[in-house]
């Protein structure tokens, strides 16, 4: 019993000590300008950090919506870039030229992909309802992806550049040279393609950039494809054998943009004549 009392009185002393110190610190922070400022600013600092952390965590919860939104925004902005526009020069009023929209971008999630054999397809979660139609180019943020082969109401199937039937019109940056870019389906190498039809009297160099030419109705001009990493020449052939390192990695692709060419009918009409 006396032990208990002893312990209690000891604890009581400590409690009183804490109590008095709390009063002291309350006085210090309340009545001393300097201390008040220090206390406030450090409180701000730590509470600021805390709310920032909470904020960051909340951002994670909304990340998916945010990505959706940003992708829509990217699609909108890409449609405003120079290569998506058709420059219409009105010769009657010499100094006026108007820009017509030629390409618009439709953002899509990649919902399935296979990179196993010779014929590689991916599936997008956008279809005719969203304006995706067969024979539209598909790109992602770092390069080209492929060509829409078929579209249902809400989904579409894209023949990737790693498919034996794919042929992309591509050019060497800074020159007028262009050729067709194909994939060697026998090698099943998912990071290189071959640029054909560059005549041997031109001397492309390793490291030169390859862009879309804009000569097809699929892709706007000047979209990055990759760069040259090997040049060889078969004896007697009239064109180089150029191996191109593809800029993007399609096996890691998660979203893509289908490109709608608004002047497609106009161009097809021309070809039919």
């Amino acid at each position: 019993m006396s032990n208990l009392l002893n312990a209690f009185s000891k604890l009581g002393g400590f409690a009183l000590f804490l109590f008095l110190e709390v009063i002291c610190f309350a006085l210090i922070i309340r009545f001393n300008n300097y201390h008040q400022q220090v206390a406030l600013s450090s409180a701000n600092k730590y509470m600021g950090n805390l709310s920032e952390t909470v904020d960051e965590f909340e951002d994670y919860l909304h990340l998916n919506e945010e990505v959706e939104r940003l992708r829509a925004e990217v699609a909108r902005l890409r449609a405003q870039e120079g290569n998506a526009l058709y420059r219409d020069i009105d010769t009657t009023f010499a100094s006026f030229d108007t820009l017509n929209q030629q390409f618009v971008f439709i953002d899509a999630d990649v919902i399935s992909k296979t990179f196993l054999g010779r014929k590689n397809f991916i599936t997008l979660n956008r279809g005719r309802q969203h304006g995706v139609e067969p024979h539209m180019g598909v790109v992602d943020d770092q390069g080209i992806v492929g060509i829409v082969k078929s579209a249902s109401a809400y989904h579409s199937r894209v023949m990737t550049i790693f498919h034996p039937d794919t042929k992309i019109s591509a050019k060497l940056k800074g020159t007028g040279l262009f050729g067709s870019l194909v994939w060697d389906s026998d090698k099943e190498d998912y990071s290189h393609m071959y640029l054909k039809d560059i005549p041997t009297h031109h001397k492309p160099e390793i490291g030169d950039t390859i862009l879309t030419s804009g000569y097809s109705i699929l892709f706007p001009p000047d979209i990055l494809i990759g760069e040259i990493d090997e040049i060889s020449k078969k004896s007697g052939a009239s064109s180089h054998d150029i191996r191109v390192k593809i800029n993007n990695d399609l096996r890691a692709i998660r979203y893509a943009y289908a490109i709608k060419n608004l002047m497609k009918d106009d161009l097809s009409e021309l070809e039919e004549e």
Partner: protein
């Protein structure tokens, strides 16, 4: 009863000495000063052993607040004094400080009762607690530890000198 009277008188005298004389000493020179003379903790150190712990803490709190009123820093001296009073109880019971035959019930923590070596040990450790705590609270920013230590060092030495001079000249008995 005599003890109470002596302590009340000491309280007033030390208070006046601290706020009228020593305060000016530490703020008398212009510009930056490293030191302060904290003499008033001696009042708490000289309270008799038989003072109950809670009473000791309350006395220290009130005395500290009085000093604070004069220094215009509400709470700073009071918190250090309360800490000193709290530590005093712990330090007194430490093995290396307790005399071989224990404390007499009527003893006071003075040179006359317990000897100079005992008093020096008692004073040095508790004054260090007080001064360090005081400057920690005064500076209030943990990252300025260098400033805290610098101020504590000079103040500690000067206060020690003043207190020892007082103790050796007046040799209070209670």
């Amino acid at each position: 009863m005599e003890g109470v009277v002596a302590n009340v008188i000491r309280c007033v005298v030390f208070f006046l000495l601290q706020v009228l004389f020593l305060k000016r000493l530490s703020t008398g020179w212009e510009g930056y000063f490293y030191w302060n003379v904290l003499f008033y903790p001696l009042f708490i150190l000289l309270l008799p052993f038989r003072t109950p712990r809670s009473v000791l803490l309350l006395i220290a709190f009130i005395f500290g607040l009085m000093i604070d009123l004069a220094y215009d820093s509400p709470g700073v001296h009071a918190s250090a004094s309360v800490f000193l009073a709290f530590m005093r109880d712990i330090v007194i019971k430490m093995d290396w400080l307790v005399p071989r035959e224990g404390y007499k019930i009527t003893a006071s923590p003075t040179i006359r009762d317990l000897g100079f070596p005992w008093f020096i040990r008692y004073l040095s450790i508790l004054l260090l607690c007080h001064v360090l705590f005081y400057f920690m609270v005064e500076v209030f920013v943990p990252s300025q530890i260098f400033e805290i230590l610098q101020k504590s060092f000079f103040t500690y030495i000067l206060s020690m000198v003043f207190i020892l001079i007082y103790m050796l000249i007046f040799r209070p008995s209670q």
